[in-house]
Symmetry: C2
Subunit: 341 residues, 2 copies
């Protein structure tokens, strides 16, 4: 592939002149610029990102760490949507996106590199982290490294974080159900993560504020995106002597499990029992009945994550470490009905 040297030879000028001409610098005459550009075109010149980044110490490349359990996280609808938005924003600002991984590829260079080592090896200008186990030592090492980092849905010491307003979301949803007349609201929740903790706390707090009683049997730990578990939890709730009139699920996907369990009993939604999800996935609007859920603004989350990361990359001196909350909104749907009991 043609290099600056080839163009220089072709035009009878120095490599420096070619470089400056192609970068449209002021101290090159327009005739020379034209001549150089023509030669570059003719020879099929392509700049070499490796050479440029070696010289400039910038790669214009952002590392992405998205790891679902045993998977890459791409098949996780919620995070895929955030990543999609992140990617579009980053690209609009001239950054490429490369995945970080700590594969133990045998023999290869990447073998046995930790996340941080990998990020350093590629000299990423910045890194975005989401959907990972934040207690993983490798993740902690990466966050503690010298590379600009933005985390999504998790707050870490001294790092900018983009959070969905889970607390407000649960509060609004619970209140919404309350206003529909429900007094027996059950809460099936994810576990382990901070997000799950916050949602649970918000549920309890809101219930308290509304003067709702929440029997322990109404609160069941489950998992995100685990349809089977949601199904079982739902059955458990329906079997109670005093079953709830409304069930809140950890996410829309889990709500499908609930629908399954409920229909199996011959109960109707929302006439006999109400349910609500969380996330606002497109499919939630399309099922019958339309799922009542909390829409998370994934578009905005991805965009803000990218904007803040780029800000930190470009202006490390003046950029602030911030915790940014992105608002959520109750999407009414039809699965929560008026309760008259």
């Amino acid at each position: 592939m043609a290099s600056l040297k080839d163009i220089a030879k072709e035009c009878g000028v120095s490599v420096a002149t070619v470089s400056k001409a192609l970068n449209d610098q002021a101290d090159i005459s327009s005739q020379t610029k034209e001549k150089v550009r023509a030669a570059a075109e003719r020879l099929g010149y392509s700049p070499n990102a490796a050479a440029i980044s070696l010289k400039t110490d910038r790669t214009e490349n952002i590392g992405v760490l998205f790891v679902d359990e045993a998977r890459s996280g791409l098949t996780h609808e919620f995070f895929a949507r955030i990543l999609d938005s992140f990617k579009r924003t980053a690209e609009a600002h001239g950054y490429d996106i490369t995945f970080i991984n700590s594969s133990s590829a045998n023999g290869s260079r990447l073998a046995r590199m930790s996340y941080l080592e990998h990020a350093r090896y590629r000299r990423f200008d910045g890194v975005v982290i989401a959907c990972v186990d934040f207690t993983d030592p490798e993740v902690i090492e990466l966050i503690g490294g010298e590379i600009p980092v933005v985390t999504i849905d998790h707050i870490f010491n001294n790092r900018t974080a983009i959070l969905s307003d889970n607390i407000g979301g649960v509060k609004d949803l619970t209140t919404y159900c309350y206003n529909k007349g429900h007094r027996k609201i059950a809460f099936i929740h994810g576990s382990k993560s901070t997000v799950a903790q916050n949602r649970l706390s918000s549920f309890y707090r809101t219930a308290e504020q509304l003067g709702l009683e929440v029997p322990d049997a109404y609160v069941i730990p489950s998992d995100y995106r685990n349809l089977e578990a949601a199904c079982r939890a739902t059955e458990q709730l329906l079997d109670l002597p005093d079953p709830p009139t409304c069930i809140l699920y950890p996410d829309d996907y889990s709500a499908f499990g609930g629908i399954k369990a409920i229909r199996r009993r011959g109960l109707r939604i929302p006439e006999d029992i109400s349910i609500a999800g969380f996330d606002g996935t497109p499919i939630a609007e399309q099922i019958d009945p339309r799922l009542t859920t909390v829409a998370q603004n994934t578009e905005e989350m991805g965009r803000l994550a990218a904007m803040h990361l780029i800000e930190e990359i470009r202006h490390p001196k003046t950029s602030l470490v911030e915790v940014i909350t992105v608002g959520t909104e109750v999407s009414p749907g039809e699965s929560v009905g008026t309760c008259r009991k």
Copy 2:
């Protein structure tokens, strides 16, 4: 960040020795290797991918082109699953994954680069293409370039392609419905792409082989993943004087649109009418009734794409241009019932 030079200084040896020591070459004594490795560790040395690739002319990086209409393709469940599998395979073999884009970021280096220019700029060792408009001149330029390419779900001149067996899938599905007693089968299909063409042809051919009559009114062009369109097409079919007993949809997502339209009329699935999707998305197994569909082996498609691309990268002389078909399988579900009419 520490470089080989720093280690060399620290150890009192030459840069060449350090390089060879870290690469575990034969002509360095084990004492020296140990000394060098210790110093590297102490100084926090990290190899520089840019310098290595500049020197070796390999980046160990694969470009990915996945562009959905106006989006990046990440939110496209089917392709996300393929990409996920591709990524895991590539990483296991020491390759990183970077997205290709032709953003018109203002002012940045990537501004106004075509896909091929972008791929050259990053010096990708290879490229995988899926989910794009294959008539796009930029895509054609990329495929015609000098970089190893594997395409997914599309055959292009002289390039290895990984295809799902759409023809066999439609044939098997149609036959499955026929065996359930259905003689009036409607086919709502995607348009424009070769995949859509092949599926349609396969439907007609299979119908002919089975001796089925297919009125023109039973075949309705729609779009992939367009719930609204599927909904309308379904209503159109139900309004026919002689409506079908079974409707095949372009994908699982579209089938949701069908379910909606059918339920709105108070009809039951599969008692009153049967439906089937295509793809085999996880959600299809979870809805009620479980959707009859054609499962595409996304895991295998991604894996094969990666394996073949890597083979072509590593052994350009001996690698063959192949068209590889990945088998599909009818996933019975419950949405196609026995037809007694």
